[in-house]
Amino acid sequence: MAERRKFKKRYCRYCEQKVEFIDYKDLNLLKFSLSERFKIMPRRLTGNCKRHQEMVTVAIKRARQTALIPYVVDRKNVVDNPFELIR
């Protein structure tokens, strides 16, 4: 038991909500799968299933292209309040 799982095993949130399709304009759905710095969270941490992870990846990339969510948030490129964007 030296190496314990750091994150609790979770179940796919999208499956729970029975999401059929993830629209890139619907930021509330994307929020689960984004880190604080707006990176796409890996499946092993979020517990998303493969099908939904693929959908969410496409949606996040589209949202980035249309300036709905930022590409990067770092010290040089600070967003005043990142959560203002997602509501």
Binding site: F21, K25, D26, R62, Q65, A67, Y71, V79, E84, L85
Partner: protein
């Protein structure tokens, strides 16, 4: 005829009439080239996640339309020339499931457009909500 959804962002420096003119201009490109407008979602002025051509905000419009494939090339070519359009993206909905979702989104937009018709239009404009059946159009930007 394919199902498409085109999102474009107009510069924030324009006046209201100019913004409207720009939107109508882009819609005219679709209708003139044999496209068919299904629904128009006015997302209004939003803060951009990152500056685009030194603009911090932009006016978002989403047009749902059915169009032949050749139209998209023409539409994107014209938008690229147009300096008042900051960003645009066209998404195609081809699979059966996607088209079902497309119809759902269109229905949501139509509903959203119909609902606040009784209220003054200005209140609807700054709503930063994404298109979803659950989203309330009454939510205001702080």
């Amino acid at each position: 005829m394919n199902h498409y959804e085109t999102l474009f962002v107009v510069k924030p420096t324009l006046t209201d009439e100019e913004t409207k003119a720009q939107i109508e201009k882009n819609i005219a490109i679709i209708t003139d080239n044999g496209g068919e407008i299904v629904a128009i979602d006015d997302m209004g002025m939003r803060k951009l996640a990152y500056p685009v051509e030194k603009n911090e905000r932009g006016y978002y419009t989403v047009v749902y339309h059915k169009a032949p494939a050749t139209l998209i090339a023409e539409l994107e070519r014209q938008m690229r020339y147009n300096e008042d359009v900051l960003k645009f993206m066209t998404v195609k909905y081809a699979k059966k499931k996607e088209i079902a979702q497309y119809d759902k989104m269109v229905a949501a937009v139509v509903k959203k457009n119909d609902a606040p018709a009784a209220q003054p239009k200005q209140e609807e404009a700054p709503a930063p909500e994404a298109t979803e059946p659950a989203a309330e159009p009454a939510k205001e930007e702080a």
